[in-house]
């Protein structure tokens, strides 16, 4: 299966962290990964990253919108949308909700394991983040 994931987020540090861990997870699962980014309009405008993860030779994609901060005003109706409001997760200034949103991706994308991200969070003793991630990924 091929997936086209579009991610949006304004917490730059945590967006960077979750993105790297996700990219590593996809690569370890033998998906071919392509990334396309966009330039944000200002220093605080949302970051945008499109990740194509290709696991089959078919030219069909499943589209997923990952809206980390409830930023989307409109979206394509055929896409799966993951956002804090869809998951009924409260927005948190420390970015805890990013881990819930990231976790939900593991229920949608086939053949990827949450073990790498869980391991990293465990190693860094980020217990709250790990709890959020596990709750939504399993």
């Amino acid at each position: 299966m091929n997936y086209c994931i579009k991610m949006f987020g304004i917490h730059r540090k945590i967006f960077d962290k979750t993105t790297r861990l996700l990219l590593q997870t996809f690569a370890e699962s033998d998906y071919f990964v392509q990334t396309h980014s966009g330039i944000p309009e200002n220093y605080f405008a949302p970051l945008k990253l499109k990740i194509n993860i290709i696991g089959s030779q078919k030219h069909t994609f499943r589209y997923i919108l990952v809206d980390f901060d409830n930023l989307l005003k409109s979206s394509e109706s055929q896409s799966d949308l993951i956002s804090p409001s869809k998951l009924n997760v409260n927005y948190s200034p420390s970015g805890l909700h990013y881990w819930a949103v990231s976790g939900r991706l593991f229920r949608i994308i086939e053949d990827i394991s949450p073990a790498y991200i869980s391991g990293c969070l465990l190693e860094e003793k980020l217990e709250k983040e790990l709890a959020y991630f596990r709750k939504f990924s399993s």
């Binding site: 579009k6 949006f8 304004i10 960077d16 993105t19 790297r20 861990l21 990219l23 590593q24 690569a27 990334t35 396309h36 980014s37 966009g38 330039i39 944000p40 309009e41 200002n42 220093y43 605080f44 405008a45 949302p46 970051l47 945008k48 990253l49 499109k50 919108l65 901060d69 409830n70 930023l71 989307l72 005003k73 409109s74 979206s75 394509e76 409260n90 927005y91 200034p93």
Partner: protein, 431 residues
């Protein structure tokens, strides 16, 4: 190995290649604190050219197109990185469409500049910044020279023959590094994620890649890059058939400005609807969300002659020169203090005392100060409970404000205490 982000790749390149002089245009999307010199783009270009002429490795970051007249050959490498396609061709230009090729393009740029004695422009697509890639470390042989200059070398002007010889050196190097060609039906676009783009162009010399495009029966180009192709056709000259692909509609996101944005504050305080508002601060969010036109101060002042419309110019103090011409009464000016300076064209006002133009605001986009910390009284915060639009978020576009269940919360790390949310809250919930 975790992938590196664009910022890490670029900073590693700067460090490993040993650049000693740098400049970043104000509001370049990635912030380089050491390169924030508060110069305009053209001033920054001249600063870097001067440094490279005396033998300093120089690098600059721009969001404007880069163009200059070269008076002297440079003694050390000089790279101009920009996110805009060129509007004139003056030196070799290398293009980087994907982050995967960024390392190769950066190292080629430095080699071409070193061997040709010319500055090199590296145009990067929107997909290169804020992206990720697994790459190995850069390796450079860092023999450094001591910068020096004498009067004779400055007097020696570049002759046309010498300049063409150096362009030929650049072309020879680049054509051996990149041999991609285009075929009929290809999409040739820098910013469209489909297709490919030129690896490089050298002024006055038609590369094999440019020649290949002439042989195509048809190619596809992006609507917002058509102007660049027209410039190429005039410059070389070049004849080819193309079809324009319309710009893609992107997902619509909530508008966000910087916390404490002085423009948002001015717009909430003054009746800006009676003005045509201009600024020389090149922030695309201002034109998109606040209908501010981006123009130089003197364009605005010239525009005002013999017309009745009221014009408001908002710009940085450091970029504002004392007006040599009379300013018509229909032009009003607000200056933003972007740097500590004694120069005072207009009296400085406290933020909450702003009532009219003809003043200097105590801060600017690149110099936002923290005035304090706004707090929200949850009992008084009622708009979401009543299913009303949250005025504080909608009028301030502030990233420090966010919805949580049925109240608004403030991200303390981002709040500057500017008080804009307080002034627009209909329930007095912010203090």
């Amino acid at each position: 190995m975790l992938p590196k982000n664009s910022f890490e790749i670029i900073t590693e390149f700067i460090e490993q290649a040993g650049f000693s002089t740098g400049f970043a245009e104000i509001n370049f999307p990635i912030f380089f604190p050491d390169y924030d010199l508060r110069l305009s783009a053209s001033e920054g270009i001249n600063y870097l050219l001067g440094a490279a002429t005396s033998g300093n490795k120089s690098i600059g970051f721009f969001h404007s197109p880069v163009y200059f007249n070269l008076h002297n050959f440079i003694k050390s490498e000089c790279i101009f990185i920009t996110t805009s396609l060129p509007e004139n061709l003056c030196v070799p230009v290398i293009f980087c469409k994907n982050i995967v090729s960024l390392k190769n393009k950066l190292t080629t740029a430095i080699r071409v500049s070193e061997e040709s004695g010319l500055p090199v422009i590296l145009v990067i697509s929107g997909s290169v910044l804020f992206n990720y890639c697994e790459i190995d470390d850069f390796e450079f042989d860092n023999g450094r020279m001591s910068p020096t200059i004498d009067k004779r070398s400055l007097d020696k002007k570049i002759s046309t023959d010498n300049f063409l010889d150096n362009l030929n050196i650049a072309e020879a190097l680049l054509s051996t590094s990149f041999d991609n060609k285009f075929s009929s039906g290809d999409t040739v676009s820098l910013n469209n994620e489909q297709g490919a783009f030129f690896d490089y162009i050298v002024p006055h010399i038609k590369s094999p890649q440019l020649e290949s495009i002439e042989k195509c029966s048809e190619i596809f180009i992006s609507e917002n890059e058509e102007r660049f192709f027209k410039i190429l056709c005039l410059h070389y000259p070049l004849v080819f058939n193309y079809q324009v692909i319309p710009n893609k509609q992107e997902e619509e996101l909530v508008p966000i400005l910087c916390p404490g944005c002085p423009f948002a504050f001015i717009f909430s305080r003054l009746k800006t609807e009676v003005y045509l508002v201009f600024t020389d601060i090149k922030c695309p969010s201002l034109s998109r969300h606040l209908n501010v036109k981006i123009r130089e101060a003197y364009f605005t002042i010239g525009l005002a002659h013999n017309i009745k419309n009221k014009l408001l110019f908002i710009g940085n103090v450091s970029n504002f020169k004392y007006p040599l011409i009379n300013i018509d009464s229909n032009v009003e000016i607000i200056l933003l203090k972007d740097t500590d300076t004694d120069r005072e064209f207009y009296p400085e006002v406290k933020l909450n005392k702003l009532q009219k133009a003809g003043v200097t605001l105590p801060y600017s986009c690149n110099n936002i100060k923290k005035y304090g910390q706004m707090k929200i009284n949850p009992k008084k915060c009622k708009c979401l409970k009543k299913n009303e639009r949250p005025e504080c978020i909608e009028q301030s576009f502030c990233p420090a404000l966010f919805r949580s269940d049925d109240i608004i919360l403030i991200n303390e790390d981002l709040c500057t205490g500017c008080g804009l949310c307080k002034s627009v809250c209909p329930y007095g919930a912010v203090k």
